[in-house]
């Protein structure tokens, strides 16, 4: 029998705010001392009252709009009870009854074409703290720096049916949320986390099978492996009665490549949601709603069409650029500065990509000043700086955003020389020390001149117009 996999995702995304969701502690604790960013509110002291961070609601709304959701204009917070030391108040403040955004739609594209994935809801909530078990054998150490860091949870309907679709969906979420600048969405940094709800049923059936939830996947690759493993486990159980499937939460072990049922104590979940009496409803008036609506970015597809139809880029270039808002922004300011869309796209998609790849950085990590890139492109296209030296300057610009390419080129001797007497001198020297290349060239092997050309360029540190150099070389050879 043929089976199909039915997958729904719960994606947690850390919002890029400065402070926490209900208190003024810093939301950024990378590299901080344990419990450096805590206060009585976020470490759960009795009697403390939460005060909602406006930007969290801004970003929640914005995320909802990016995913075509309906925004609940009165949105409320609820308490979700569970006991674990990473949750000092013994409840998480989250949204259950009236989440900020509901009923959205996200379009994805895979090798099988386009597909729409329905979003059930997006809710705002606080993150939990971190537990450290390996400092001492007798206790668990608790760090509340992450407690109350704002998250949104994006809950999809069970509309996904393969690992490929899940990857496309996560990429799409990341892309849209980064365009809106509400979140980093980097799984490796923990700013995007994903739980997978999966069941299997005979192809074409409209009845859902037994559903399991998988947690603890730390990369897209791990998610794909987990989906493949879990699908096979379900089919095996159905076909060969290898085990009885039960609705449960399972933990993915990426090293063993297997999922394991979590102990029932951990999953005794009955969260007893109830309205949090400490947080009044958040009412989003027209002015607030419209200001967020007006702040939405140009969507990737709109950008793509504009790049092709108005700026004249190829479809391929446009497709590559819109993958990342960081690339788009750099492209747009480089283009505004140098006036050539084609050159700007080329420098970004080849030279910048090469540097990113060599440093094992993703598209989104591009951090080059677009205006400076535009100036550099102009210097190279006007022949003031050689292309090879232009690339060197670009690599340095990756390390230092403040570099002004022209000043930098002058200071480091990257300006093309118009001093023909110097070029002639260098050409003569090259000819004198490469008699074989000269003979080859004279006997009709035109490519032989490249050896001389390379030697001269090296001597001139690349600061020479290639055409001028070529002309001088040929003239000097002909004199012999």
């Amino acid at each position: 029998m043929k089976y199909e996999t039915v997958i729904g995702l719960e994606v947690h995304v850390e919002l890029a705010t400065k402070s926490k969701i209900f208190c003024s502690c810093s939301a950024h604790s990378y590299g901080a001392e344990p419990n450096a960013h805590v206060c009585p509110a976020c470490c759960g002291m009795p009697g403390m009252l939460p005060v909602v961070n406006k930007r969290v609601v801004d970003y929640g709304m914005k995320a909802g709009m990016m995913l075509n959701c309906h925004i609940n204009r009165t949105t409320t917070f609820d308490k979700k009870s569970y006991y674990y030391p990473d949750l000092p108040a013994a409840y998480q403040t989250t949204q259950w009854f009236a989440p900020v955004a509901v009923n959205g739609l996200v379009e994805i594209e895979t090798s099988k074409g386009k597909k729409s994935i329905r979003i059930k809801q997006i809710h705002m909530e606080e993150d939990a703290g971190k537990l450290v078990h390996d400092i001492r054998e007798d206790t668990t150490h608790v760090d509340f720096n992450r407690t109350s860091v704002p998250l949104i949870e994006i809950v999809s309907q069970p509309d996904l049916s393969s690992a490929e679709e899940v990857e496309a969906y996560l990429d799409r979420l990341k892309n849209l949320l980064r365009y809106a600048k509400v979140a980093e969405c980097e799984m490796a940094h923990g700013t995007m986390r994903c739980d997978v709800n999966l069941s299997v049923r005979p192809e074409g059936s409209d009845k859902l099978g037994v559903r399991t939830e998988m947690k603890n996947m730390n990369s897209i690759e791990a998610i794909k492996r987990a989906i493949e493993y879990e699908t096979a486990r379900h089919i095996d159980a159905i076909e060969h009665n290898t085990e009885v499937l039960v609705q449960e939460t399972r933990r993915w072990d990426d090293i063993k490549g297997k999922s394991f049922a979590m102990r029932s104590k951990e999953t005794a979940g009955d969260y007893r949601y109830f309205p949090d009496p400490n947080v009044m409803p958040v009412v989003i008036d027209d002015e607030w709603f419209n200001s967020i609506k007006a702040s939405l970015p140009e969507f990737p597809e709109v950008k793509r069409a504009r790049y092709i139809n108005e700026i004249g880029l190829s479809e391929y270039d446009a497709d590559q650029l819109i993958k990342s808002i960081a690339i788009c922004e750099c492209f747009e300011s480089a283009y505004a500065e140098c006036g050539s869309a084609k050159d700007s796209a080329n420098w970004l998609l080849s030279e910048c990509m090469n540097i990113l790849n060599s440093r094992q950085m993703s598209y989104d990590m591009l951090d080059v000043d677009g205006k400076a890139l535009g100036k550099l492109i102009k210097l190279v296209s006007e022949g003031k700086v050689g292309r090879a030296n232009g690339k060197k300057i670009l690599a340095d610009m990756f390390d230092n955003r403040d570099i002004d390419p022209e000043t930098y080129a002058k200071e480091n001797g990257y300006i093309v020389s118009n001093d023909t007497s110097l070029i002639e001198k260098v050409a003569k020297e090259a000819i004198a020390s490469n008699p074989r290349a000269v003979n080859d060239f004279k006997s009709g092997k035109e490519k032989a001149i490249m050896a001389l050309f390379g030697a001269c360029m090296k001597q001139l540190k690349g600061n020479c117009d290639p055409n001028t150099l070529k002309e001088i070389l040929i003239a000097e050879i002909n004199k012999i």
Partner: protein, 94 residues
């Protein structure tokens, strides 16, 4: 309210009740249950919007500004045990 529900509540609230306490709780909840049923039968709540708060109020929001008025040492002064800036709790994994 039966013993199964009580057992579940015990688990969810991390309590361990004595037989005597169990009896007291069962009697208490069952007497309250009839009060609730009386209310449920007397008032029709169909088409009544969910009440979030008794007062028709909305929350005030704050700007996204970082402040750190408390020191870790102040907060950890009442802790039974701390270690290198961490709070220490009974071990939760094996």
């Amino acid at each position: 309210m039966d013993r199964e529900i009580l057992r579940r509540l015990e688990l969810l609230n991390q309590l361990r009740l004595t037989e005597e306490e169990k009896q007291t709780f069962l009697e208490f909840f069952n007497s309250k249950k009839s009060n609730l049923e009386a209310l449920d039968n007397a008032v029709n709540t169909q088409n009544v919007e969910r009440m979030v708060h008794v007062m028709p109020v909305m929350t005030v929001v704050r700007e996204d500004v970082v402040k750190q008025p408390f020191s870790r040492d102040d907060l950890q002064r009442s802790a039974p045990e701390t270690d290198e800036g961490y709070w220490c709790v009974p071990r939760v994994v094996e």
